[in-house]
Amino acid sequence: MKKLLTGNEAVARGAYEAGVTVASAYPGTPSTEILENIAKYKEIYSEWAPNEKVALEVAIGASIAGARSIAAMKHVGVNVAADPLFTFAYTGVNGGCILVTADDPGMHSSQNEQDNRYYAKSAKLVMLEPSDSQEAKDFVKLGYEISEQFDIPILLRLTTRICHSKTLVELEERQEVGIKEYDKNIAKYVATPANGRVLHVKLEEKLKKLEEYSNNTPINKVEFNDKSIGIITSGVAYQYAKEVFGDSASYLKLGMTFPLPKQKIREFADQVDKLYVIEELEPYLETEIKAMGIDVVGKEIIPNVGELNPDIIREALLGEKKEIIEMNSEKVVSRPPTMCAGCPHRGLFYVLSKKKNVVITGDIGCYTLGSAPPLEAMDTCICMGASVSAGHGFSKAFEVNGKDTKVFGVIGDSTFFHSGITGLIDIVYNKGNAATIILDNRITGMTGHQENPGTGFTLMGEVTEQIDLVKICEAIGVKHIEVINPLDLEETEKAIDKAINTDEPVVIITKWPCVLKKSPKEEVEEYGLDQRKICTVESDKCKKCKLCLKVGCPAISFKEDVGAIIDDTMCVGCDVCLQVCPFNAIVKVGE
């Protein structure tokens, strides 16, 4: 049966068909749906780990125990998981193991567009790059065979267009492989320097055999057509190249891109007149091929920034452009993402935006939108967890150099579990005074509502222990901890002011569920979510001061003749605008 699947769904299906029994991940666009889909297969134990390093280590442990395992993450997540990754290449596997990296060329939803193909070369892993969903599934299954045959972990490299495009996939049955025998093997699995030296030599030997495999595997495929143009390509770039050239060029389509099939590349290069490398982002293939002494054209005509597409290839290689409809594009207004109407982060950022002489170090999540107009209540956003630790660095730099500026690190609940805890330990241990605000919206918001250690549920839907943020902060040694309702502006302001005047570590936990969350019954009752009445503007009282527009709520608009207007289909009755209006023109409907 053929089914239209995203690349992420296809990876999940591949893991199921390959007999995987353990899967772990931390959510991150564009990888999140891999584990969400694996969780639908009851044969596989699946979990959200608190971060990517833990997720990979879980997969490594399961592999050494003898099970086929998988870990999935976005490209920057691999940076977090890089420590175990490099040593795991040395120890090798028992049950096959695949790490999925989902790169984001064009940064649809990421802070950078790093090219993770270099991880395969640097950590010495086998790399497979599918170009559609069928290959995504097939390469997962092939990956487990290679992993077990050569005793090496696999890096399956996807990009956003592979992850989120749907293409047809032939479904097959699951193959139960069970668990391999686990034999204690200190020389293989205990990476002491003495063992590591031996393991490194063995790894280099494996890579030589894998290069031979790469030369012979059918997933490194030559398609001869007209030989005046030869194109070496991989991943989604192959589809773009085919779209532009069809049968008018010859292709070497690489499915296995580390180790590279050098002999096959040489033979292909010998048989075509003009050789191009078409690849997205960095000149990974191009550099390797040039190092072999082969003359090839790549990044001098195809950019190494942004997402690739057929238009770019057509213009770069053929000098052709399709005719388009020209219009006055200056009229088009931008439509940036924004905090939802009723978002619990809005109240907090509104209060912070009013404070003078503060620095706000931000983090990765919906709340990064606090940096957008009209709030603009953020100074930095670097990576997961940096709000707390970079905030500490900020405040120490100010302190040492005699500047009196308060620093607030703003971090989500899931992000705090991910890598904010260590930063907070640093603040307390080293006598810092940066304040940490944990935005506890009871879910992982930005990636589309995944459970996390604080929500009380697992990925597989089981009820579990709720890790208590207050107790964690107490245990770390924070003496000033406040839990507040961020939609209550007075309460929020009081807590912020108190923090500004406290020369010790402070934690403020803003606790209110994400407005998009389908809250369980207990939560609806606890927060009175079903009792809330929406807001409206009494136009005769509206003085058109536009102060309510400063909260940046998408439900509030303004017309010169009537004043502020609240969209009754969007408003949920969070009351932030009502508290901001100095003329009491905003009221609750039905009160």
Binding site: L4, T167, M327, V332, V333, C340, C366, L549, G552
Partner: protein, 191 residues
């Protein structure tokens, strides 16, 4: 050999574009076409611009549509039509919902929502204007705008090989099947 057809659906998060494109691609797959569909995720629920690209034919390579190559552009919101117009073939068709959703820069008074969009589009391209919001209200559910737009798309592109009733039944929740079937027919009538 059937040339690959390119359909571009654009609008704003929350307008039901993803569901409409699911019905569309399901119908096309069941009719035996090779289909590729690409969505941009991530920011969709936060009021951002949303696009879905559907390509079908005998053999499809790229999952994305280049500039000047869409056979039809279906805009669920009129400013989005303008934003994506350069992806439409000059000989292609535009189906636009006469509906505006101001973005935050408009709401906070930084910029004005552009006027006369529909008139300008009509001057440049074969344009069909649909009042999907009104039609949906008449049907009794404002959220059926997406399937009304789908019906209009199918009629405008004259896709005759597909059993749309089955595709809708297979995709939407059972209790919404009837109203969506009506919405689909209504959309067909509006072109």
């Amino acid at each position: 050999m059937l040339e690959t057809k390119n359909i571009l659906l654009v609008g704003v998060g929350g307008q039901g574009i993803i569901l409409a494109s699911k019905v569309l691609s399901k119908g096309l797959v069941d009719a035996g076409f090779d289909v590729k569909m690409s969505e941009v995720h991530g920011m969709a629920q936060r009021g951002g611009s949303v696009t879905t690209q559907v390509r079908y034919g005998e053999k499809v390579y790229s999952p994305i549509i280049g500039k000047g190559q869409a056979d039809i552009l279906v805009a669920f919101e009129k400013m989005e039509a303008m934003r994506w117009i350069e992806y439409l073939k000059p000989s292609g068709k535009l189906v636009v919902n006469n509906y505006s959703i101001p973005s935050v820069p408009v709401l906070i008074g930084q910029v004005k929502y552009p006027e006369d969009i529909i008139e300008e589009l009509k001057e440049k391209v074969d344009t069909t204007v649909i009042d999907a919001a009104n039609a949906a209200r008449e049907l009794g559910n404002i959220r059926t705008q997406n399937i009304i737009m789908l019906g209009a798309l199918v009629k405008a592109l004259n896709i005759t090989e597909v059993n749309w009733e089955e595709a809708i039944k297979d995709t939407v929740k059972e209790k919404y099947v009837d109203i969506n079937l009506k919405a689909f027919d209504r959309g067909m009538e509006l072109v």
